[in-house]
Amino acid sequence: VVAGTTPVLVHNCGTTDFYTVQGPEDATRLSSGGHPFPTSPERAHFGSGVYAWGNEADAAAYAANKSGAQIMRFAVDNNALAGLRQAHVGSMTDEAATQFMEQNSLLWGGDASHGLEYISRPTARGVEHYFSSDIFHLLGF
């Protein structure tokens, strides 16, 4: 249902699945609370948290050339998902998306101090979904 240009989510029951690709040590870490979360720009460009794909096919393609990698599925309650502080870079213009990345991604000169709990962005190989470590308890592994 759309009111003007603002989407209105009427029915939020159920969950949404996400798929993260992890090596053995990180898989163990995520299975036992998540800490310590990686912080390097290459592994945590929006900040500490969990980076995932929105479908299993993208995760499988990403895992294909990584020895020992495994795909971990987790579910997020749709009501909880809707309530997160979030941004969706794919819905922005190219100019706005570039500016967002430059401000908020450690890979692109940003400082990751956005305060957001959930960010999705199209990448070269699928849509990446970032969940802040602050809401790790909402990720149902």
Partner: protein, 141 residues
Amino acid sequence: MAASSTYTYKVLKSSWGIRIALVAEVVPDDGSFLHAIYLGHGVSLAQSIADSRLSAAEIEMLSAGLRSVAVEIANVTAQKPVVVVLNDVQFVESDYQVEGLAAAIIGWATAQFGLEEHDIEVSFNRETNRYDFRWPGAEPG
């Protein structure tokens, strides 16, 4: 001859970009690099990366980029045969497109040999979710 040096190629025009850090050095060609790829004009490309993750297509793109500036390199080296030795190539898969390797090695060679700057035009095509490159002069290949 100069020591190993790093060049980082970066372009960002949407929600993802291309970011490639390339470490290489140039050495006299004394025939010791048996697997070097000869690119013409006395310029060859070799890898010192023991566990290279680079595919054949990626090696070909690096070769194409270096080949496109081989004449200029020969002018600087007074036609003395040289080998460009790749020591490391780093990129994040979500922010990567193979054509960036050609741009990266052209950028590296430009800095390393003091060549005239190459104006590589890059635009983002949202429909194909790819960057389109317009090479100065002939397309690398």
